[in-house]
């Protein structure tokens, strides 16, 4: 584990059980800094089109037969996923690519995101007005998913 990924915290007040008055402790939860908005966030490359500046990013993959939604993390790739080819979802659908499939996929995906503790994500998917993709994004928002990420809180002097 590199030092930068560790969380270093400093005791301001001492506790009764701790002998030292000035203790540094590490919260090993790898997602903690992202939730506190302190974590490093890649800023992308200068000459590239934007789309790399995120902790979690929504991916929507529409193919001829199925629709796949996933959360991509900048470090650990796909974290949460749902797609209409999954038997549990497909079982209840009439078709796997129609508007209903998009809406229902969004409902399942939103539930899984909340269950995984991720309710905010970067999104560069854009749907034309009245399109299925727009219905998907709208359903996500209706189910409490925020399609943008907060800014990183930077230390003084950065």
């Amino acid at each position: 584990m590199s030092l930068s990924s560790q969380i270093r915290r400093k005791v301001l007040q001492t506790t009764k059980n701790l002998s030292s008055t000035d203790v540094t402790t590490v919260n090993r939860n790898p997602r903690n800094l992202e939730l506190l908005q302190f974590s490093y966030k890649p800023s992308g490359y200068h000459l590239e089109k934007p789309g790399r500046c995120f902790w979690n990013k929504l991916q929507l993959n529409v193919s001829g037969r199925y629709v796949k939604a996933a959360i991509q993390h900048y470090k650990s790739d796909v974290v949460v996923k749902a797609d209409t080819s999954e038997w549990a979802i497909r079982k209840q659908l009439f078709r796997t690519t129609d508007r209903t499939a998009f809406v229902n996929l969004a409902r399942v995906f939103a539930h899984r995101c909340h269950a995984a503790g991720i309710s905010e994500m970067y999104c560069d998917v854009q749907g034309a007005e009245g399109s299925k993709v727009e219905a998907f994004l709208k359903t996500l928002e209706e189910n409490g998913i925020v399609l943008s990420e907060p800014e990183r809180i930077k230390p003084d002097g950065l």
Binding site: I7, T15, T24, R31, A116
Partner: protein, 408 residues
């Protein structure tokens, strides 16, 4: 530069082309050979697969005949496609699938793998077992009862400490075999452990034990043997989000855990626990089968718990930002503004002191500070003042830059 020599006398036109390149130097390797940043970073942070190899300590998946499964599914899809009601609903956008049913169905297909994926994302296996993992085959239904509201524990959702005050209701199907999903004839025994890998205030790697119930017959928690009673999560102020991980183990038989029983249940050190050591000790008799976890951060209700139950002062932490990168100082820094460059390597406190002294020198103890300049930019610089000093004076007069901290 092209030099074209035209020999006019000859009948044929034969230009003599000599090409030269001036003032150009190849920087780095050629584009086809050089690797891009992603590749270079990948190489730098490469992990040795032999060292990082993880062992599967869970139950294996039962392989069902693919053709049987497919036949069943195709028949179901065929029936769906012939269902006019469903088609009508689907086409009119009125079809809303049952999310609970989806959750239930996915338990036999994709959910265990998805859960393993998200658990790895949260570093659960790394921090609890170090070099082992498992695919959770048994789904647990854990719910905290807060008055009339039920707060479920999934895999990483955030639950306030005030909501997790009393032990949750845990339900799982303990009568079936985790591999074959068939009913057991005999009584099966289970162990439920709730630990927190982020709670060690001394910064150690040990976990904090929140709950330990063993010998649960057929998934009936109430009849289990409580080794450590439930204690709510109490993340310290400023320390951020902690993980509380519920792991369900299947026992081969009844096990006597009485030597692990806690005497004084509220002291902190008694509850330090290591899942890895625990598993090491009992690995022949227990197999992890279920996983669930939530995240929790400090809230106001914890102050009372620290003072009255844990009998300690409430610890408060603050985040220490990693210091920004500073390259080693050069003897001859070329093309760098010397004053700013030198300041970069000086003691911050000393620089601050100088600015404060400069301010205090202009402050009369009785009359207070000097009146601010009416037109700060319209003042004469002494003859032969270098441009860098003019700039510094300008910032000082305008109260910009470092001076801004000392302007009233």
């Amino acid at each position: 530069m092209f030099v074209i020599k035209n020999i006019q006398n000859s009948k044929k036109f034969t230009p003599l082309v000599v090409s030269t390149r001036n003032g150009h130097r190849m920087r780095g390797k050629a584009p086809a050979i050089a690797r891009n940043l992603t590749q270079r970073l990948e190489e730098e942070f490469q992990v040795d697969k032999e060292i990082e190899h993880q062992v599967n300590i869970g139950f294996p998946a039962l392989r069902i005949s693919r053709s049987d499964k497919l036949k069943e599914r195709l028949a179901h899809i065929k029936a769906q496609r012939k269902n006019p009601d469903l088609e009508k609903k689907s086409r009119s956008g009125q079809l809303f699938i049952d999310l609970q049913q989806v959750e239930q169905d996915s338990q036999n297909t994709t959910a265990p793998h998805n859960l393993r994926l998200i658990a790895e994302h949260y570093g659960i296996f790394r921090d609890l077992f170090k070099d082992a993992y498992f695919v959770p085959r048994i789904s647990m239904d854990i719910k905290y009862q807060v008055e009339d509201i039920e707060v479920p524990v999934y895999n990483g959702n955030i639950i306030q400490p005030s909501e997790a005050k009393s032990a949750p209701l845990v339900n799982f199907n303990g009568t079936v075999d985790p591999v074959t999903s068939k009913m057991n004839n005999e009584t099966s025994y289970w162990t439920l452990l709730a630990t927190n890998p982020d709670c060690h205030l001394g910064g150690g790697e040990q976990e904090y034990l929140h709950w330990f119930v063993s010998n649960i017959p057929n998934g009936n928690i109430a009849q289990g043997e409580t080794i450590a009673s439930y204690i709510q999560p109490f993340p310290a102020k400023g320390l951020g989000y902690q993980r509380v991980v519920f792991i369900l183990y299947k026992q081969n038989s009844k096990i006597d855990f009485s030597n692990l029983k806690l005497d004084n249940e509220n002291t902190g050190e008694e509850r330090l626990f290591s899942t890895r050591n625990f598993y090491k000790q009992f690995q022949d008799e227990i197999t992890p089968a279920g996983l669930s976890f939530f995240q929790s951060a400090w809230d106001k209700t914890l102050t009372e718990l620290y003072h009255n139950v844990l009998n300690m002062k409430e610890p408060t932490f603050a985040y220490n930002h990693p210091s920004p990168y500073r390259a080693d100082q050069q003897w001859f820094p070329l093309k760098k503004p010397f004053n700013l460059y030198m300041d970069k390597y000086r003691d911050e406190k000393q620089i601050g002191k100088e600015f404060l002294e400069k301010k205090l020198a202009k402050t009369n103890p009785f009359d207070g500070p000097e009146a601010p300049l009416r037109y700060p930019n319209a003042h004469y610089y002494e003859k032969n003042t270098p441009s860098w000093l003019q700039f510094e004076l300008k910032k000082e007069r305008l109260g910009l830059g470092r001076m801004s901290k000392y302007v009233d």
